[in-house]
Amino acid sequence: MKASMKPTMAHPFPRIGLTVATLSLLAALALPLVVHNPSMLNLAVLALMAAQVGVAWNIVGGQAGQVSLGHAAFFGIGAYTSTLLSLKLGISPWIGLPAGGLLAALLSVAFGWSCFRLRGHYFAMATIAVAELTQIFFTNWEFAGASVGLNLTMDREGWAWLNFAGKLPYYWLALGLLALTLLAAFCIERSYLGYYFRAIKDEPEAARSIGIDIARYKQVALAVSAFFTALGGGLYAHKEFYIDPGSVLSTALSIKMALVAILGGIGTLSGPVLGALVLTLIEEASRMLFGGTGSGIDIVLYALLIVLIAVFYPAGLVGSIRDMTLRARQRWRRRQAAATAGTAATAAAAEGSRP
C-alpha cells in the first residue's frame, strides 16, 4: 500500500495522508464556529451524511469490488426501522439506529444470497432488482405509511430522541457517524479482512486457490456495509422528520451512494468524503443557480459531470490527485539526484531531458 510507504529524510511530502486527515478533522470541528447560517450548516450536514453512506458503500463496492446499485434498500431499512420503533413503540433512536443497522446486516444475507453468485453487470442489475422490490414492498405496506410515508413527531426534543429544532446537533451527529464509519473502514482495510477483500476484488480465482472462502467474505463486506448504510438512513430519518419510499428507497439514491465513492476514488478511504463534498456542492450550486424552476438544467449539469468523470477520470479525484503527487515526487527525486550528481550542467541536462 502506498499509505504505508515510509517517508524518507528531507521528503517534500511527509505523511501527506495523515496531514490532510488531521487538517480536515480540524476544519470540520471548527466549521460550526464560523458558519452560523442554518442553510449553510444544513448543506454541511448533507455533505457529511452523503460522505458517510459513500464510505459505507465503499466497503463492499470499493474494497471488495462488488458494485452494488441497490444500497438504498439498506438505507431505507435503517430509516424505517428507527422511525417505526420511535413512532409505534416509543423507543429512542439510540436503540432504533443500531437496531436498524443490525436488521439491515441480517437482511443483507438474503440480498447477498440472491446476488453474489452473479458477477459484473449481472450482479449490478440484480442489486437494482432487489432494491426495487424493497421499495415496492414499503410502498404497499400500510402499517409503514405505504406510499404516503411516515412523519416523526416533534414533541420529544433533546438528545435522547435526536430531535432538535436547530441544525447544529445534526452536524455533530453526522460528523460523529462519519468518523465512526471511517474508523471501521480504516480498521477493515488494515486487518486481514482488507487483504481478503482486495484479493476477492482483484484476483478472485487466485483468492479461491489459496483457500479464501469468497462467498463468505463477500457477505461479510456486505453486512458491514449494510450496517453502516442503515445507520446513515436512521440519522437521515431523524434529521428530516419525514420519510417515504421515494426519498429513502429509490434507485436514484442507490446510484448516488455509489457515485459519491466513484467520483472521489473507488476503494480509497478518503475518496467518498471528497466525492461527497464535491457532489453536494455542485448539486446545491446548480440547484441554487438554475433549479426550483423545474427547467431540468440542474439535472443536465449533474449528468454531464457524471459522464465526464466516468469517461475521463475512472480512478476518481483521489486517484487523479495521487497520480499528480506521484509525478511531482518523481520529478523532485530526479532533480535531487541531478543536484547531488554535481555540476549544474548535468542538472540542466536532466532538466532538459525530462519528458
Binding site: Y122, A126, V130, E132, L133, I136, I299, I306, V307, A310
Partner: protein
C-alpha cells in the same frame, strides 16, 4: 366470463410484450456485441415518442408518417453517441461503463425536461383509433398496430442479422471481436452500427406507443427495468430470445396484475428476473 377476462389479459399481455421485445432487442444487441449495459436505452424510446409528438403537434403529421424519419434520426443519434462517447469506454472498467450510460440517461432526461417541459403530453386523433371486438375480446387498434409494428421491425432486424453481409459481420463481431477483426471487420464500425440499430428500435417502439401512452421526459424509466428483465430472460445477446422473452414478460405482467393486484405487477416481474438470474443466468435462449 372468467375465461374472457383471462383471454383479454393474455391478448393485452402479448401486445405490450411485443413492445417490450422491440425495446429489449437493442439492449441485447449492444450487450452481445460489446458487453456494455446501456442504462440510457429507455431514453431512446422517450425520444422516439417526442419525435412523434412534435411531428404531430407542429406539422399535423401522423406518427405513422413520421416514423421513418424518427427512426432515422434515432439511428443517427445512436451512431453519434457511440462515436463521441461510448468509444472511449469500450475497454474501461465496468464501473465507468455503468456510470457513463447512467449519466447519459440522466442527461437525455434533463435535456428533454429543459427543452420540452416535464408535462405529460399525448397525441389525440391519430389515424388509427378505436377498438375491434372478437367475441368477448376488445382490443384497441393502436395497440394492435403497435404489436404488429413491433413484430415487423423485430423480424427486419432478425433478417438483417442473419441474411445480410453487414448483419453477419455484426454477429461475427459479437461472437469473437478479435477473430472478426482478423477477417477484416472494423469492430468500431460494427459497434456504431449496433448502437444505431438499438437506438432506432427503441425509438420505433416509442413511436408505436406514442398514440396511446403518455409522453413525458421520464417515460423511459418504466421500460428500462422491464427491458433488463427481458434481456436476461432471453439471454444476453440473443434477438430471438428477447422476442419470446418480451412476450412472456408482457403476459406474466398483465396476468400477475390481474391475479395478484396491479400494484405488484413489477414485483412479480422482478422476482422472475432474480429467479432466472440465479438458476439460469444465461437466460432461456442464451448461448452457454
Amino acid at each position: 366470463m372468467t375465461f374472457d377476462i383471462l383471454l383479454q389479459a393474455l391478448a393485452s399481455g402479448v401486445l405490450i410484450g411485443l413492445i417490450y421485445a422491440l425495446v429489449a432487442i437493442g439492449l441485447t444487441m449492444i450487450f452481445g456485441v460489446m458487453d456494455i449495459v446501456n442504462f440510457a436505452h429507455g431514453e431512446f424510446l422517450m425520444l422516439g415518442m417526442y419525435g412523434s409528438f412534435w411531428g404531430f403537434a407542429l406539422f399535423h403529421l401522423d406518427p405513422l408518417l413520421t416514423l421513418p424519419l424518427t427512426a432515422l434520426m434515432l439511428f443517427a443519434l445512436g451512431v453519434l453517441l457511440y462515436r463521441l462517447l461510448i468509444v472511449r469506454i469500450v475497454d474501461a472498467p465496468m464501473v465507468s461503463q455503468i456510470f457513463t450510460t447512467f449519466g447519459l440517461m440522466l442527461l437525455l432526461r434533463g435535456l428533454a425536461q429543459f427543452f420540452w417541459k416535464p408535462d405529460f403530453r399525448s397525441i389525440e386523433n391519430s389515424f388509427v383509433a378505436g377498438s375491434v371486438q372478437w367475441g368477448g375480446l376488445h382490443l384497441g387498434k393502436p395497440q394492435l398496430l403497435a404489436g404488429a409494428g413491433a413484430v415487423v421491425v423485430t423480424g427486419l432486424v432478425y433478417w438483417f442479422l442473419h441474411r445480410t453481409r453487414l448483419g453477419v459481420a455484426l454477429e461475427a463481431t459479437a461472437a469473437d471481436k478479435e477473430a472478426a477483426r482478423l477477417m477484416g471487420i472494423d469492430s468500431h464500425r460494427m459497434f456504431a452500427l449496433a448502437w444505431g440499430i438499438a437506438a432506432a428500435c427503441a425509438g420505433v417502439a416509442g413511436v408505436l406507443l406514442s398514440t396511446f401512452f403518455p409522453i413525458f421526459p421520464e417515460v423511459g424509466a418504466s421500460f428500462i427495468l422491464i427491458a433488463f428483465v427481458v434481456v436476461n430472460l432471453g439471454g444476453f445477446g440473443s434477438v430471438a430470445g428477447a422476442f419470446w422473452a418480451g412476450i412472456l414478460v408482457g403476459v406474466i405482467e398483465v396476468m400477475g396484475g390481474l391475479l395478484v393486484g396491479p400494484e405488484y405487477k413489477l414485483a412479480i416481474v422482478l422476482v422472475l428476473f432474480l429467479g432466472v438470474l440465479m438458476w439460469r443466468p444465461r437466460g432461456l435462449m442464451g448461448k452457454a
